[in-house]
Symmetry: D2
Subunit: 285 residues, 4 copies
Amino acid sequence: MTDTARYLLTSVCPDRRGIVAAVMGFLHGEGLSIDEAHQHGTPEGQFFLRIAMSGAVGAVPDLATLAARFAPIEAEFALQAELRDLARRARVVIMVSRTGHCLHDLLHRWQAGQLPIDIPAVVSNHDDQRSFTQWCGLPFHHLPASGDRDADDDRLLALIDGLDVDLVVLARYMQILSPRLCARLAGRCINIHHGFLPSFKGARPYHQAHARGVKIIGATAHYVTTDLDEGPIIEQATQRVSHSRSPEELVTIGQEVEASVLSRAVRWHVEGRVQIAGQRTIVFD
Amino acid sequence: MTDTARYLLTSVCPDRRGIVAAVMGFLHGEGLSIDEAHQHGTPEGQFFLRIAMSGAVGAVPDLATLAARFAPIEAEFALQAELRDLARRARVVIMVSRTGHCLHDLLHRWQAGQLPIDIPAVVSNHDDQRSFTQWCGLPFHHLPASGDRDADDDRLLALIDGLDVDLVVLARYMQILSPRLCARLAGRCINIHHGFLPSFKGARPYHQAHARGVKIIGATAHYVTTDLDEGPIIEQATQRVSHSRSPEELVTIGQEVEASVLSRAVRWHVEGRVQIAGQRTIVFD
Amino acid sequence: MTDTARYLLTSVCPDRRGIVAAVMGFLHGEGLSIDEAHQHGTPEGQFFLRIAMSGAVGAVPDLATLAARFAPIEAEFALQAELRDLARRARVVIMVSRTGHCLHDLLHRWQAGQLPIDIPAVVSNHDDQRSFTQWCGLPFHHLPASGDRDADDDRLLALIDGLDVDLVVLARYMQILSPRLCARLAGRCINIHHGFLPSFKGARPYHQAHARGVKIIGATAHYVTTDLDEGPIIEQATQRVSHSRSPEELVTIGQEVEASVLSRAVRWHVEGRVQIAGQRTIVFD
Amino acid sequence: MTDTARYLLTSVCPDRRGIVAAVMGFLHGEGLSIDEAHQHGTPEGQFFLRIAMSGAVGAVPDLATLAARFAPIEAEFALQAELRDLARRARVVIMVSRTGHCLHDLLHRWQAGQLPIDIPAVVSNHDDQRSFTQWCGLPFHHLPASGDRDADDDRLLALIDGLDVDLVVLARYMQILSPRLCARLAGRCINIHHGFLPSFKGARPYHQAHARGVKIIGATAHYVTTDLDEGPIIEQATQRVSHSRSPEELVTIGQEVEASVLSRAVRWHVEGRVQIAGQRTIVFD
């Protein structure tokens, strides 16, 4: 029996004729089968590509060889490309404060084998989620705010750097990241906002939604940038609510939406389905 | 065979013990059966009531008599009450500019006997919708902007006053109403905004939504106030959209949502199901 | 400071004039305030009522006294009524097999104080969910199938009877209940079916849905009756899926819908919001 | 200024390595740019492809030339392919009985330039929709049932054959097509069923849904086959309904869903986005 190599190519480049033919021809020449292929050209002239491919180990090149042979095409089309081995699971650190619904949802999916990630650490500025995290067999790091923001950032970055992290998920982490952290984690830090962005940025979005009298609430997963709640949106969902719901009931109703939205965003990110195009995202689902 | 009288009571008053018992006892004493009853007390201490009732003509008082006998209860509980005969259909003027999807939806429902309203006029600042309106057998009034805003308002108000109108529906009427019009039509003018308020107020909301990269678009029906797109929301709905949709496609997708939302808001209003509580609405559906 | 007594009246009776007035008048006479009131008359002539009420302890009768004084009204209108103290939490036994997503969702909500229930036991025919249940601090009963169905039923009923159980929740319990169990638990046993009933009854509904090529999958919470998957439906929800999803992916996508639907059904049941009318339910949400 | 030629390739073939590379390489060699590309391999081993492409008239071959040059690839991969000029609008006959909501929705979209089709005829077994159809400037054919089913079929087929029709849309046409008609229109006849298939096949689905007490109703657009309501599903949508809705209200609520679902199915079909795979459809949206 032969093992199967599964690779993923994601790329962005200026849109022009011949990209797909060149890439497909190359991959075919290397003996690879195309399992999934998505493309999108933006009105601004960027061209995004995502190709999942496979072949028998031995019959197809290893990843390093493939990448080396692909270099001329990258150069020709000015592709910014990433080639990954799909067998390697993304390493995801989850950050949380006191409220556990998003953390619990992510860890249950992970336990059930439904989220293809490794979780080297759960980090929190509170201690509430230690018990559940450890019951799941995962390391819990309690990093309370020390009052010295720079030192806190240093400690967090040291932890992240030491764990070789692909993605940081803010699963209801109720601290605003410093600009330094935002910059260091650019494009690999996802936050769940408990409001339907761009409405109701900032604090207590359900109370804002209640005061405004909206008939539908929502949640938004987005990449973190230095502009609070302004990063590129990955996924959103909404839920109808009636006039009879109190702000506290909106909080409860919304938690389910938050957990659902965040888990989809995390899955899509680690499967290489999300690409950033300015303030927008391309999601090849 | 006996005819049935069907009445509707809607009221708001300061919340205190005994309101429902007093009202129900009174209606029972007058020989009326309760067909539907809804109540809601707000955290701010207002109490809203909607009761649909019926009885055999002759066995129950006529509306004027009922109202007169109800007066002591109104006084006792400081009720602001409205008593209506449900047999009387609301008179609704529809205003539209060039885009007809909301108008067409409303008129088709009306033709199919699904919207219990009379439509004494369709008013437009353009002539595009004349043909369809007249094919429906309805009067079409073309009131183009003359350049003199006050005179335009006078003309419109004269028309509305002369037609004994209960409700004005802005079915994609692309003019901002003057403060005078807003004041005159307070609580009886519904607008459809083609965005998910409070996001994307003002012009070209689908283009705003596209630029921001939201994954869900929406529409909002609200009462018109002098604060543009800030009036109490009656109904909203949303629709998922992918990254591949252009602003123009969002416009097309959204039109269906707009028509659907507006028709529900109009129905609920004319059935006395909507009551205004500050910037919020109570919808007894 | 005075404590507040909170009571709930739910009732069904033949529809006739005067019920609401009589009940409301009675409650008012007993010094009670109405906090929530819902009513529904069916086309078949049944009248359903749900009234949540409150008053200062001492100023209003205790539950037994209230019930005794209410008896004449019950008799007059042939009301089948239930009067409960809302301070008493429902006792809910959860049954599960191997798959834990519904159990986990219910227990997390319970831990977060969002489900007003006591859970005297989690029961399973497998041992998989013991660890999580016990981490939650709850008793776990492993009742594997012994091969003697009657003896199994006896053991389960003894457990349920001994725990004074108000509701049994089948949270993905993959055994068909015997007619004897169905009868004994009539009206107080809720099942989550992982398909959109009445489509896809029985085993492997997601595989059935995939084979049929539906574009939307769903889940259904219903009361258990002897007719498999035919009991009165309490709640349903749906989720769009594309042609590219495998049956296994439908299973994963559907789990979220199942947990969400089941938790709403359980909440509504324990809050006395669900009443059975033949094969239908009235849900006063 | 140069005109742009826009072509569409849709194909199905046995899944094997190299299809995409061969097709993409061919199209590139012919000077064509890829505007949209979708692919899907089924578990059963079929491979579906849809490619929209364009190029300057003169610089790229005309359609007949392109098809001729493509023949060797078709042969090599056993492709069942269709090549079309996207400038040619599909010719769609709409059939309707008395209820007009789906017809009106389709015609309004067509009038607004949102459905890229030509409508050579509206056909009905009743006369109710003549006025609206003719107001839209379209030919209306009244073909009442004569009692002789074969003769009726002959007349209808003669009409359809004479009009060079690409698609027949049953927009609430309340007659069951004969097996002969189903066979003649296989793969080019779409029906809207006013129920959420596979639940509630056959007559009066909303009344069936009401009797069963479902909490969500739906509509289904599907290709017509000789098995009533069993053809491949193209699109579905659902809508929540409460216990308080009568069957008649479900009918009204459902009409909006029906019109919306049908219009999407028609659009996707005429844009070549739908391909049939056994009892399922692939929808490349």
